[in-house]
């Protein structure tokens, strides 16, 4: 976990495009929140491998959001229940329920539905927020740290070397 965090800090500080990192984090929300063996997660894996999305950021985000999901399960269940039992949507859901493909997705499960909706809704804001934070980190925080004497002294210390070695 520590190595993942250090790697992530290294990526944050590297030349990697901010959008690749924030996309990795935002995308990890989907499998992180929803049950792992859901069909839509296959699509997420395909997107992760196919597009230039930072895998380390995705893995770190996945670990974080999976742990977080246990706390949010009741919320996902409630959202899923509300959506799936909406009167106006019944014919729509019934149509999907009678389709083999959609049945495979497990959309009628309250947690699958709730978590997917929450993660999809949070995807764009997460992506934009991530971009903003990474840019802010690189342009302001990292520049400030690089110029600070304390950080310079820490970087030249044996402890820093050991931490970097442990991360690698």
């Amino acid at each position: 976990m520590l190595s993942q965090i250090i790697k992530f800090i290294q990526i944050l500080s590297s030349e990697t495009a901010p959008v690749q990192i924030s996309a990795g984090i935002a995308l990890s929300m989907i499998p992180g929140f929803s049950p792992l063996f859901s069909l839509h997660n296959l699509l997420v894996v395909l997107m992760l491998l196919m597009f230039r999305i930072n895998i380390a950021a995705f893995m770190l985000g996945l670990a974080f959001f999976t742990a977080f999901a246990y706390l949010l399960d009741p919320l996902f269940h409630s959202i899923g229940q509300i959506i799936l039992t909406q009167e106006g949507l019944q014919s729509f859901w019934t149509g999907l329920y009678n389709s083999t493909f959609w049945r495979l997705t497990g959309f009628n499960n309250t947690i699958v539905m709730g978590s997917l909706l929450v993660s999809l809704a949070a995807f764009i804001p997460g992506l934009l927020l991530g971009n903003f934070l990474i840019n802010h980190y690189r342009n302001d925080i990292l520049v400030f740290l690089n110029n600070s004497r304390i950080f310079k002294a820490f970087k030249s210390s044996k402890l820093f070397t050991k931490i970097i070695a442990a991360a690698e």
Partner: protein
């Protein structure tokens, strides 16, 4: 395009293909393992499958040599299927539904032995067996042993004799006292003296005469007392004699009363041949019912009455896995559904082929009852054998199971009817036609069966000298060439009531009744003779005693007469 990671895409395709390939490669052992596990759980005993072949276009499974252990007998198979072939709907499998359009089962064998035990849990004792009559008792036709009865039964005759004996002794003592009293020689001597003195004084002077009158009055009073005593004694003796005679008459009649009481106590009058059909076929009918119960127990888990399955799923707890919301299905199907099963089974009786349709785990969804019809072909011992039925649980509250079975000209050879040691009977040869209809609704069984036996040849084993009824029945049975059997079932499936009727009762009943009456009469005669023998000596003694008493009475009579004469003579002579 620069944002696309081609390596990643190719990697994804390779990994996905590898997973799918591995699945196809290991699908058959995987499916075999899943099927064996699931079917074993359902059967509550091991189900083994030799091989599973999967065809993908169309999707079909072929199971080779399926063996289902009999849960109650782990070393034998309930059935064995050489080949089970069925096409599965893949889309329904995705819906977690096992839906088969057409299934063919060939090479079915029943009750085959197993090499290794197929138990997965200790076989449970079937409850309903406890409720069944295990054996029908022979009618209580054996008459009790008279010597045994007489050794333990106190006879009223003996009691009366003993009481009368005691009475006679007491009476005799009493009479002796009376006799002594009325014949008291001293007292009579005093009377004589007194009389003589009076006679003498009457001839004397005036004062002597006066004394004589006084003495005469005194003597007269004493003689009156003696007369009263004699009268009283006479009355006592008469009463005693009358009582003793009456009691003696009662003693004489008492053997009859004893016989009557013993006959009542040992229900001799109630003895009859009973329901001979029940006697002969009761155990067999109970065996048939037990077989039906066992069969029902076996098929019960497969009867499609699990109407609450979906409701239960809807009400599953929400946490952890969430809750699966169930929507209306356009084409609803039960979780387990086989539209048609073609069966070809080889049994010891011959080949049976037929069709089972609409086997469903929830008939309220597919709206069709499970129906089956199997007909015998190339039968070894019958002309025709058909079994058909319906398991209708579309509406759970009105659900029922119905079975109709018929067999024509079935050759029975050495068919054991009764294994009872007292009555071992077999049908050596017969041609049987049978029609059975049974219906089970709400746990209640109703049904009837008619069995016609023609060209019957009963064989019986010698039941020993002691069992006259068995021998009697065996001889009568040999005369029977045809009979019918009507069995009616009713009551709870766990404890059904059977009513068995047959013309055997009519055919054998009259003969058995006559024989039985004859035996009852002989018993009564024998009992009477033995009782009379038992009381013969005491009666003789009693009679002697009575005779002696009568002699005493005669003596008393004579004495009374004598005394009366004496009193009268005294009174005449005194003349006052």
């Amino acid at each position: 395009m620069k944002n696309i990671r081609w390596g990643g895409l190719i990697g994804f395709i390779i990994i996905t293909t590898a997973i799918a390939g591995s699945f196809l490669l290991f699908a058959e052992p995987l499916v075999k393992s899943i099927l064996e596990t699931q079917l074993s759980q359902l059967n509550k005993a091991k189900v083994d499958i030799q091989a599973v072949d999967i065809d993908y276009s169309p999707f079909a499974l072929t199971l080779t040599n399926l063996q289902a252990t009999d849960a109650s007998q782990p070393m034998s198979n309930m059935f064995e299927i050489a080949q089970a072939k069925f096409s599965l709907s893949l889309s329904d499998l995705i819906y977690k539904k096992f839906v088969v359009d057409d299934m063919s089962l060939s090479g079915i064998k029943l009750n085959t032995p197993r090499k290794i035990s197929g138990t997965i849990e200790a076989p449970k004792k079937e409850k309903n067996q406890e409720n069944l009559p295990s054996n029908f008792d022979l009618p209580k036709i054996a008459l009790p042993d008279i010597d045994d009865i007489l050794s333990k039964e106190p006879l009223t005759s003996e009691k009366l004799i003993s009481e009368l004996n005691l009475d006679i002794q007491n009476t005799r003592k009493n009479w002796q006292l009376i006799n002594q009293d009325i014949n008291d020689s001293n007292r009579w001597a005093q009377h004589e003296n007194s009389y003589n003195t009076i006679q003498k004084d009457l001839k004397g002077n005036f004062s002597q005469k006066l004394q004589a009158v006084k003495s005469a009055k005194k003597l007269s009073k004493a003689l009156k007392t003696e007369a009263r005593k004699i009268k009283q004694a006479r009355k006592t003796v008469n009463t005693d004699i009358s009582r003793l005679n009456n009691n003696f008459k009662a003693v004489k009649k008492s053997p009859k009363a004893d016989i009557k009481r013993i006959k009542e106590k040992y229900s001799i009058n109630n003895l009859n041949a009973g329901n001979i059909t029940q006697l002969l076929f009761g155990n067999k009918a109970a065996e048939w019912v037990r077989l039906a119960q066992t069969t029902y127990g076996r098929i019960k888990p497969y009867i499609g009455n699990d109407n609450n399955a979906d409701e239960e799923q809807q009400e599953a707890p929400a946490r952890a896995g969430g809750k699966n919301i169930v929507f209306k299905e356009y084409n609803p199907k039960p979780d387990f559904y086989i539209r048609k099963i073609s069966v070809d089974a080889t049994t010891e009786r011959g080949r049976f082929a037929g069709v089972i349709s609409d086997v469903s785990s929830n008939q309220s969804i597919n709206k069709q009852p499970t129906r089956f019809k199997l007909s015998g072909k190339e039968l070894k011992h019958s002309d025709m054998e058909v079994i058909k039925g319906e398991l209708n649980y579309i509406k759970k509250t009105k659900g029922f199971s119905e079975l109709v079975y018929s067999i024509t000209r079935h050759q029975l050879n050495d068919y054991q009817v009764s294994k009872a040691s007292s009555l071992p009977i077999a049908i050596k040869k017969s041609l049987m036609d049978a029609a059975i209809k049974v219906r089970l609704q709400n746990g209640l069984l109703t049904g009837s069966s008619r069995l016609n036996f023609n060209d019957v040849d009963f064989s019986t084993k010698s039941a020993g000298e002691s069992n006259n009824f068995s021998r009697m029945l065996a001889n009568s049975l040999k005369q029977v060439q045809q009979f019918y059997l009507d069995i009616k079932f009713s009551g709870a499936i766990e404890k059904p009531k059977l009513k068995i009727k047959s013309d055997l009762d009519k055919k054998l009943g009259a003969q058995l009744k006559a024989q039985l009456n004859k035996r009852k009469q002989a018993f009564e005669k024998n009992l009477k003779s033995k009782i009379e023998n038992k009381i013969k000596d005491p009666m003789k003694k009693l009679e002697t005693e009575l005779q002696q008493l009568n002699k005493i009475k005669s003596k008393l009579d004579a004495k009374e007469k004598e005394l009366k004469n004496r009193i009268s003579s005294l009174k005449k002579q005194i003349k006052f």
